[in-house]
C-alpha cells in the first residue's frame, strides 16, 4: 500500500486501537510460539517496524514473518499505524541509539539522508549471493544502492498509474474496446460524459493529482521526457512544448471529474467505479483490494489498463526494509537472514498476493496471481519499460514542492506557462 494517503481518516481511531491490539496480540503470539518451540539460544531475533495495519496488509506481512520463522529466526512485530508516524518512530529510535533490526520505508529517497549519515548497515553479502544487480529492476536498484552498497531490501512493486474502468459503464457509454492510446483514452472519456456518467473518478487530494500528472507524463510524454523532467530536472525539458502538452492534457482531465471531488479519499473514488457511477480511475494497484472486497473480479466487472502505448512505462513504487546500523553480531545476522528471506521467490509471491502488488522479481510462478497482476508481471519482463514514480528520483522536499504546484495548477486558473515556471523552480532546489 502507498502509506498515508490510503489511510482512511474516518477509521483513524479504530486503526490506532487495532494497531495497539495487533501489536499486543502479535507479541503474545510471538511469545507463545517462542515458548512452544523452546527458544533456541542464539536464534536471530529481528524486531521489525512497519505500518501494514489494515486487514490485507497485516495478512501480507504475516507471510514474511512466517517465512522468517521458518528460516530459523524470531520475528518481533512492531506495527505502527500510519506511514509518517512509523517512519518518525524509526528515525527517532535510530537517532536515540535503540534502533529496530529492520524498518519499513517506501521505495524512494525517504531514507537517503539516513544512508548518507552512515546510520544503516548494508546487505552486500546477500545482494551479491543473489545477484541483485541482475535480478532487480533498475529504478529500485537506483534508490537502494548508494555508492555501490545495498542498504535496503525490496518487498514488492506497486504500479502507480493503472487505469481502472467499469465494464458496466463502458457498455452503457458504448465503448467497445478498451483505450490503447492517449487519443482513444480521451475519446472514451468524452463518450462516458455524453452518456451521463462521471467520466473520471477522482479524489481531489494533492497526491492523487500527482498520480494523474505522472500518468500523462509517462503515457503522453514518454520515458525520455519523464526522466529528463523528474530525474535530470532539466529546465529545458520543463520549458519544452512537449512538456507543455503533458501539462495541458493533465489539466484537460479536470474537465472530466465531478464538482464534488475535492478532498475525496481514493477509495471513495474507486467506489464510484464499483457502483457504475463513474467510468475510469487512474490509481495504483492497491485499488484492486476495493474491487475484491466488493466481490468484483478483474476482466469481468472491471478492467485494468497498464498504459496507453504498446511500450508505455511501468511506474514502480513499493516498500523496502532498511537495516539500522548495529555492531551486535547477532542483530547483523538477523538482518542478513531477513534480507535473504524477503527476496526469496515464495515470500515475494505470498506477500504480493495479499498486498495487491507484484513481486520484485519476474522469475516467479505468475499463474497464481490475478489477471491484472499477471499483466503487470508480463510487462515487468521488459526492462526497457521499467520506470520509477516521482519519489524514486526526487527528494521528499522536491516531490512535495512539485505536488504543491500540480495541485494548485489543477485547482486554480493558473496558466500553463506559470505552471512550467513554478515546476522548474520547485525542482531547482
Amino acid at each position: 500500500m502507498y502509506t498515508a494517503p490510503k489511510f482512511k481518516r474516518q477509521t483513524l481511531a479504530l486503526a490506532c486501537a487495532c494497531a495497539a491490539l495487533f501489536v499486543g496480540t502479535e507479541a503474545l503470539a510471538a511469545g507463545a510460539a517462542a515458548a512452544a518451540n523452546a527458544p533456541r539460544a542464539g536464534a536471530p531475533r529481528a524486531e521489525v517496524i512497519h505500518w501494514w495495519t489494515s486487514g490485507g496488509e497485516s495478512a501480507a506481512v504475516k507471510q514474511v514473518a512466517q517465512a522468517y520463522r521458518a528460516a530459523g529466526g524470531v520475528w518481533v512485530d512492531t506495527a505502527i499505524a500510519g506511514g509518517d508516524q512509523s517512519r518518525a518512530v524509526t528515525v527517532n529510535r535510530i537517532v536515540g541509539g535503540n534502533p529496530p533490526t529492520a524498518a519499513q520505508f517506501n521505495t524512494s529517497k525517504q531514507f537517503f539522508d539516513i544512508i548518507e549519515q552512515g546510520m544503516l548497515n548494508n546487505v552486500d553479502d546477500v545482494a551479491r549471493a543473489q545477484n541483485w544487480d541482475k535480478l532487480l529492476p533498475e529504478p529500485i536498484v537506483s534508490v537502494i544502492k548508494v555508492d555501490g552498497h545495498y542498504y535496503a531490501v525490496p518487498l514488492n512493486i506497486h504500479m502507480q498509474t493503472w487505469i481502472w474502468y467499469s465494464k458496466a459503464a463502458f457498455q452503457k457509454a458504448g465503448i467497445a474496446k478498451e483505450p490503447a492510446s492517449v487519443p482513444e483514452f480521451f475519446a472514451a472519456l468524452d463518450k462516458l460524459k455524453a452518456a451521463g456518467i462521471v467520466p473520471l473518478a477522482h479524489g481531489g487530494q494533492a497526491w492523487q493529482e500527482t498520480i494523474l500528472f505522472s500518468a500523462m507524463l509517462a503515457n503522453l510524454g514518454g520515458k525520455d521526457l519523464y526522466l529528463k523532467v523528474l530525474r535530470e530536472r532539466d529546465p529545458k525539458a520543463i520549458a519544452s512544448p512537449a512538456f507543455r502538452n503533458v501539462l495541458l492534457a493533465y489539466k484537460r482531465l479536470q474537465s472530466y471529474v465531478d464538482a464534488r471531488s475535492p478532498g475525496r479519499n481514493w477509495n471513495d473514488a474507486t467506489a464510484m467505479l464499483i457502483s457504475g457511477k463513474a467510468g475510469m480511475q487512474i490509481m495504483g494497484d492497491w485499488a484492486k483490494g476495493e474491487f475484491t472486497a466488493a466481490k468484483q473480479v478483474p476482466e469481468q466487472q472491471f478492467g485494468c489498463i497498464a498504459g496507453l502505448a504498446p511500450n508505455a512505462p511501468y511506474l514502480m513504487q513499493g516498500d523496502v526494509f532498511v537495516f539500522p546500523k548495529t555492531r551486535n553480531a547477532q542483530a547483523v545476522q538477523a538482518q542478513k537472514l531477513l534480507a535473504s528471506v524477503v527476496v526469496a521467490p515464495n515470500t515475494q509471491l505470498a506477500f504480493s498476493k495479499l498486498k495487491g502488488s507484484v513481486p520484485v522479481r519476474t522469475d516467479v510462478d505468475a499463474s497464481q496471481a490475478d489477471a491484472c497482476a499477471q499483466k503487470g508481471i508480463a510487462i515487468m519482463k521488459d526492462r526497457s519499460r521499467h520506470l520509477g514514480v516521482s519519489e524514486v528520483y526526487l527528494t521528499p522536499d522536491q516531490n512535495g514542492a512539485l505536488q504543491d504546484v500540480l495541485t494548485a495548477y489543477w485547482n486554480t486558473n493558473m496558466t500553463v506557462e506559470k505552471a512550467q515556471k513554478n515546476i522548474a523552480a520547485a525542482l531547482s532546489e
Partner: protein, 294 residues
C-alpha cells in the same frame, strides 16, 4: 529555620519551573533559530547557509498563500468569536432559566478535540451529503452549499467551524467578567433611565476591557497555531486554497524531511506572537509596578 535557608527556599521551589522554561521553551526556541540558518534535511546539520532558508520561504507561493489565509482567518475568527461570545454571555446574564444547562451546551464544543469534531464538520459540509443534502431532500433541490470544495470559500468553512468551537470559551470568560461588575452600577443606570443596550455599550464593555484583552490574547495564539481544524476538514485543499503556516511547517518537518525550512517557518510564526505578547506583557508589568507603588 535559619534565615539563610528561609531566603533560599522560594528560589529552590521555583527552580524546577525555571529550568523547564529555560530548557524546554527558550532552549528549543534557540535551537530552532539555529537550525533555521542551516541546511538541515532529515537530521540537524552544522552546515550554516545564512538566510537562504528564509529567502526560500518567502519565494514559496504556498507559504505566502498560507500567510494570507492566516491573516484573513485570524481577523474573521477573532471578530466573530468576540461578538458571538459577548452576545451569548449577555444573553445568559439575563437570569434565563436553565442557565447551567445552556452554559454547558455553549462550552461543550471547546471540551472536545477538534480532530473529532472537525471530521463531523467535514461530513456536514460535504456537498451531496450533510447540510447540502439534507436541505435538498427537504424539497429544495436547487440548494447548493459547497463552500468546502470551493477554492475561494474553503477558508470560511474553517472560520465557521472554529468559531463554533471557541465562542463558548469566550462566553464563559465574558460571563465571569459580567458577573464581576458591581450590581450598584446597574441600579444607578436604571434610576437614570438609561436603556439597557446603552449601559452595555457605554459602561459595561469599557469595564470588561481586561477580560477582552485576555480573550483576545487566547484567540490570537490559537489563530497562529491553527492546524488541526485544517487537517481534519480540508487538508489544506481544494488544491492549496486553505493552507496555513502551521501545516506548512508540519509537512516540511515530517513528510518532506526539511527541518531547516520548517524551522525558518516556525521562527517566522514566533514573530507575530512575540509582537502581540510584548506590548501586553509590558502593559501588565507597568500597571503591576504602579499598583505596587500606590
Amino acid at each position: 529555620m535559619s534565615r539563610p535557608i528561609r531566603a533560599v527556599t522560594p528560589y529552590a521551589a521555583l527552580l524546577p519551573m525555571a529550568l523547564t522554561v529555560i530548557v524546554a521553551y527558550l532552549g528549543t526556541m534557540a535551537w530552532t533559530l539555529r537550525t533555521s540558518f542551516t541546511a538541515s534535511r532529515t537530521f540537524p546539520s552544522d552546515k550554516f547557509i545564512g538566510m537562504t532558508q528564509y529567502e526560500r520561504l518567502f519565494d514559496n507561493e504556498r507559504w505566502m498563500l498560507s500567510l494570507n489565509n492566516l491573516a484573513l482567518y485570524g481577523l474573521l475568527f477573532i471578530l466573530a468569536c468576540l461578538v458571538i461570545g459577548f452576545l451569548l454571555a449577555v444573553f445568559i446574564d439575563q437570569n434565563v432559566s436553565g442557565e447551567g444547562v445552556l452554559r454547558t451546551v455553549f462550552l461543550y464544543p471547546y471540551a472536545m478535540s477538534f480532530v473529532a469534531t472537525g471530521l463531523v464538520w467535514q461530513w456536514l459540509l460535504t456537498p451531496g451529503t450533510g447540510i447540502d443534502g439534507a436541505i435538498a431532500s427537504m424539497g429544495f433541490p436547487d440548494f447548493v452549499f459547497d463552500w468546502i470544495v470551493d477554492q475561494d470559500m474553503a477558508i470560511y468553512t474553517i472560520v465557521i467551524a472554529t468559531v463554533w468551537q471557541s465562542a463558548g470559551l469566550v462566553m464563559a470568560l465574558m460571563l465571569a467578567g459580567l458577573r464581576g461588575i458591581d450590581g450598584d452600577i446597574w441600579k444607578a443606570a436604571r434610576l437614570d433611565g438609561i436603556p439597557t443596550w446603552r449601559v452595555y455599550v457605554s459602561i459595561i464593555v469599557p469595564m470588561l476591557w481586561p477580560t477582552v484583552a485576555t480573550v483576545f490574547l487566547l484567540l490570537a495564539t490559537s489563530v497562529v497555531k491553527l492546524y488541526d481544524a485544517v487537517v481534519a476538514m480540508t487538508q489544506g485543499g481544494p488544491g492549496t486554497a486553505s493552507e496555513v503556516p502551521a501545516k506548512f511547517i508540519m509537512d516540511h518537518l515530517f513528510l518532506r524531511s526539511n527541518i531547516g525550512l520548517a524551522s525558518a517557518g516556525a521562527i517566522m510564526l514566533l514573530v507575530p506572537v512575540v509582537a502581540l505578547l510584548a506590548p501586553y506583557a509590558y502593559a501588565r508589568s507597568r500597571s503591576g509596578r504602579e499598583r505596587g507603588r500606590a
